[in-house]
């Protein structure tokens, strides 16, 4: 069993956004790993390991499309416990989702992976597209927004529960397949793999890297590919026409009476 997990770096979502030349200015941004990708890696780890004996039953490969020199986030995920990494050297900010999906589909095929686990979206663009596009490109079954995953080892399938408007839907996707992860997948008992006892309780949330994990991460293998190695033309069919900061808020006003307030809400704010 080989699990491929997509991971992305994003500008720190807690920092305030800067604008320059009609675009978001990330030149001085602090880059951090995308939170949903942490859920994806945690899901893959829980699927792969026997939580008691720490033995692994699957290999976990993390894959990122980013400039090769800026792959610090891959080290972070290797420190969490992934076995090795693949970096596709490209400026991801200049690619559209389809191009990224093609690159990941290429890595999936090249690796001969059995399962692709993605975060449901990346926090910077909130696109929520890549997992679905890869499934489409490879013609694989997909279960998106997973809140719970059970590995049915006999049936060679993943049983995925996903929160939908009117309840929880359960889908069984035969391997090879694609899963995208939602927040609830990192609750203490959301992932079951048939090896770790079903009543095992994980700490909530993605695990922190251990000290040993951190020192070992640097020694783990990270393969570097170019888009051309995957026969993909990296580009974008989408062009940005402009990005503008939201207008600054106008100063507040102090009104004299309720009547005046109602009038202003009706005529100036136009909310009544």
């Amino acid at each position: 069993m080989k699990i491929l997990v997509t991971v992305k770096r994003i500008p720190d979502p807690d920092a305030s956004v800067k604008f320059a030349n009609g675009a978001v200015d990330t030149s001085s941004a602090k880059w951090v790993p995308n939170e949903f990708d942490q859920y994806a890696v945690e899901t893959a780890l829980r699927l792969a390991e026997d939580a008691k004996s720490k033995k692994r039953h699957a290999e976990i490969v993390v894959c990122s499309v980013c400039p090769a020199a800026q792959r610090q986030h891959i080290t972070t995920f290797l420190a969490m416990g992934a076995d090795r990494g693949v970096v596709v050297d490209a400026d991801d900010t200049a690619l559209d989702s389809q191009a990224v999906a093609k690159l990941i589909a290429g890595v999936f095929k090249k690796e001969g992976a059995d399962l692709l686990v993605c975060g449901k979206l990346s926090q910077d663009t909130e696109g929520n597209e890549v997992g679905q596009r890869v499934a489409g490109l490879l013609d694989l079954p997909i279960a998106s927004f997973a809140g719970g995953v059970t590995w049915d080892q006999d049936g060679k399938a993943m049983v995925v529960s996903r929160e939908v408007d009117d309840g929880v839907e359960t889908k069984k996707v035969p391997l090879p397949s694609v899963i995208t992860c939602d927040l609830r997948v990192v609750l203490p008992q959301s992932v079951k793999n048939g090896v770790t006892p079903d009543d095992y309780t994980y700490n909530e949330g993605p695990r922190l890297a251990s000290l040993r994990g951190i020192t070992m991460a640097k020694r783990k293998k990270v393969e570097q590919l170019k888009p051309a190695d995957l026969d993909v033309e990296a580009g974008s069919a989408i062009s940005n026409t402009g990005v503008n900061p939201p207008p600054a808020r106008a100063a507040g006003q102090i009104v004299e009476s309720v009547e005046q307030l109602v009038e202003k809400l009706a005529t100036e704010a136009k909310v009544l």
Binding site: L208, A209, I214, T215
Partner: protein, 604 residues
């Protein structure tokens, strides 16, 4: 609450102290830590800070609110959150951070492990106490245990499956361990039966680990009275079979829990050994040398206590600082009009005084704790006897100070933090009263501060005709020499030089009195002496920090400049507001003041 303001600041402070002031990277040049890369230390300390913020801080309130309780069957319950936090800590590999790799540890320098503890102490000291005790006990076994003891107990301790305790105190023997009565009765198979009552034992009973390894001080039957008749024994809660599986209970009975003012997350027990069933122990180290063996653990434990006191003060400082930036109240004295805008309380000079006082106590204390830890690493890696002796000396005089000074002034910082918040500080809506209650333990355990004063003046300073003391003064003078030509530091170097002279003179006069034979008078103001020398040592730590800051100022970014300017300003504050206290203390000590000593008991 995870209090991000505490951990963001701590990250910066630890990086400054470790990389810039102490240059811990240089420890790698000894070859001892060559398995680590240059940037590993910083990365690992940052990981510990994140773990402390995410795993330890959130359950600190629960551990305080839900004190451990004893069930009718004699077992105890502690909040589930404690087990969860400790398991994550163990999985993270923190327990074995400084223990060598051959016993399952990480082999990190002690100073790095202490920096990690600093983060866990700031987050939740009562939870951190369990692994801290365990690591210290494992360290004693590593140094003094027999092969059999090591084979059975060491690895499970490093792996966090067995926890450790230190069992010294008895109901009738606290400060005066010479009077302890617990007996060890030799058995034909070379083991001992332990019989006696122990008091105040932290982590003495719980189900957080599979087993508990008690390191117990007791007197072998027929041994001499006093300190020279005490030996150390390894006493497991459950016996361990030769194949490593757990055997039956070993006759250690929980007789009660102590209900404490603070530090409630660390269960505190009264234990009876061998009362209901035979309690089997094995000797650790040499017969009758138990105190020396225990001190191996205690020197580290003592600097650890000081660091803990510092970090509770640190957390309080950061929380009160954040509050002072937000809380708007009152106006500047020259702008009192009702139409003038009210200002954040940080604007008021008196609030700044309270914040600066906290800052100099806690950041000075942190500097001292890490400096001592680095000396321990240098000692461990030193190859020649002369260097080892010099480091032994420095550590000997500094240990009572590193324990007692922060545990005196850390709680004072917490007291000021409460004051900064006003009424809010006095409520449980804020963590400051909890920090204060937790911190109030530190002057009491691991040898009361009063005992530390006696140890410092009565033993450490006077030993070998004051050799260790002279080495300390030489080290301080070396720093003064390094910085006295820097203009921005001249006020500090001049004041510190004067202070060192005053302390030297005072110590000489006291020494002369001691030779005169009046020991009671000589030691009557030992606590004042510790505070005096402690303030000089902290002023030294501030000179080191200020000196580093001054040297970095030119290349610093804007953010960094504010940080470094803060260090320089704080150093000046310590020099002007705090250091002059020693003049009063020196005067009292030099004239061998007997006012306290001679107060008739009936006149109180």
């Amino acid at each position: 609450m995870s209090r991000p303001e505490v951990f963001a600041a701590l990250r910066r402070d630890l990086a400054f102290l470790l990389d810039e002031v102490l240059d811990v990277g240089a420890l790698r040049s000894t070859g001892a830590f060559s398995q680590f890369d240059a940037d590993d230390f910083g990365t690992l300390v940052d990981a510990a800070i994140e773990a402390a913020a995410k795993l330890f801080a959130p359950c600190a309130e629960v551990l305080d609110a839900e004190e451990p309780a004893m069930r009718p069957d004699g077992s105890v319950c502690v909040p589930d959150e404690l087990a969860t936090a400790l398991n994550a800590y163990i999985e993270g590999g923190y327990l074995g951070a400084a223990l060598p790799e051959d016993v399952g540890g990480m082999g990190l320098p002690y100073v790095i492990a202490q920096a990690m503890y600093a983060a866990f102490f700031a987050a939740n000291a009562p939870a951190a106490a369990y692994p801290m005790l365990t690591a210290a006990a494992a360290n004693v076994l590593r140094a003094f245990g027999t092969d059999a003891q090591k084979a059975t107990f060491l690895r499970p301790m490093v792996e966090g499956r067995y926890f450790g305790t230190m069992v010294l105190s008895e109901p009738e023997a606290g400060s005066s361990l010479a009077d302890l009565r617990t007996r060890a009765i030799p058995q034909a198979d070379g083991t001992y039966h332990i019989v006696g009552n122990k008091m105040w034992i932290s982590g003495g009973e719980h189900d957080l680990s599979e087993n508990i390894v008690h390191l117990v001080l007791a007197r072998i039957e027929g041994a001499p009275a006093g300190i020279k008749g005490i030996s150390m024994f390894l006493v497991p809660k459950r016996r361990v079979n030769p194949d490593g599986t757990l055997g039956p209970l070993n006759g250690v009975t929980l007789t009660g829990l102590n209900h404490k003012m603070g530090y409630r997350g660390t269960i505190n027990t009264a234990l009876a050994f061998g009362a209901d069933a035979p309690c089997v122990g094995t000797l650790v180290g040499t017969e009758h040398r138990g105190m020396a063996t225990m001190f191996h653990m205690m020197n580290e434990a003592r600097t650890g206590v000081g660091l803990g006191a510092t970090m509770m003060g640190y957390a309080g400082y950061r929380v009160s600082l954040e509050y002072a930036r937000e809380r708007v109240q009152g106006r500047h004295p020259d702008r009192r009009g009702a139409d003038e805008p009210a200002v954040p309380i940080l604007e008021h000079a008196d609030v700044r005084r309270m914040l600066l006082t906290q800052k100099v106590y806690v950041e000075g204390g942190l500097g001292l704790g890490l400096y001592c830890a680095k000396l321990i690493d240098e000692h461990a890696t030193a190859t020649d006897a002369e260097t080892k002796e010099a480091l032994d000396d420095l550590l000997a005089v500094l240990t009572p100070i590193a324990k007692a000074w922060p545990s005196e002034f850390g709680p004072r910082a917490n007291d000021l933090a409460i004051q900064v918040l006003g009424g809010a500080g006095y409520t449980r809506d804020w963590p400051l009263e909890r920090y204060y209650r937790d911190n109030r333990l530190n002057p009491i355990h691991e040898g009361t501060n009063g005992i530390q004063g006696l140890d410092l003046l009565g033993r450490k300073v006077t030993a070998h005709q004051g050799r260790a003391f002279r080495r300390l003064l030489a080290a301080i003078r070396a720093s003064i020499g390094r910085f006295e030509s820097v203009e921005a530091l001249q006020e500090l170097t001049t004041a510190l030089d004067g202070a060192v002279g005053l302390v030297a003179e005072t110590t000489m006069k006291l020494g002369a009195a001691a030779m005169g034979g009046n020991v009671r008078l000589f030691l009557a103001n030992a606590t004042e002496y510790l505070h005096m020398l402690g303030h000089v040592v902290i002023a030294w730590m501030w000179l080191e920090q200020a000196g580093t800051a001054a040297a970095r100022m030119d290349q610093a970014s804007e953010d960094d400049r504010a940080f470094l300017e803060g260090k320089l300003h704080a150093a000046r504050f310590f020099t002007r507001y705090e250091l002059p206290r020693i003049e009063r203390q020196a005067a009292l000590l030099q004239r061998l003041d007997d006012t306290a000593l001679t107060m008739p008991a009936g006149a109180f």
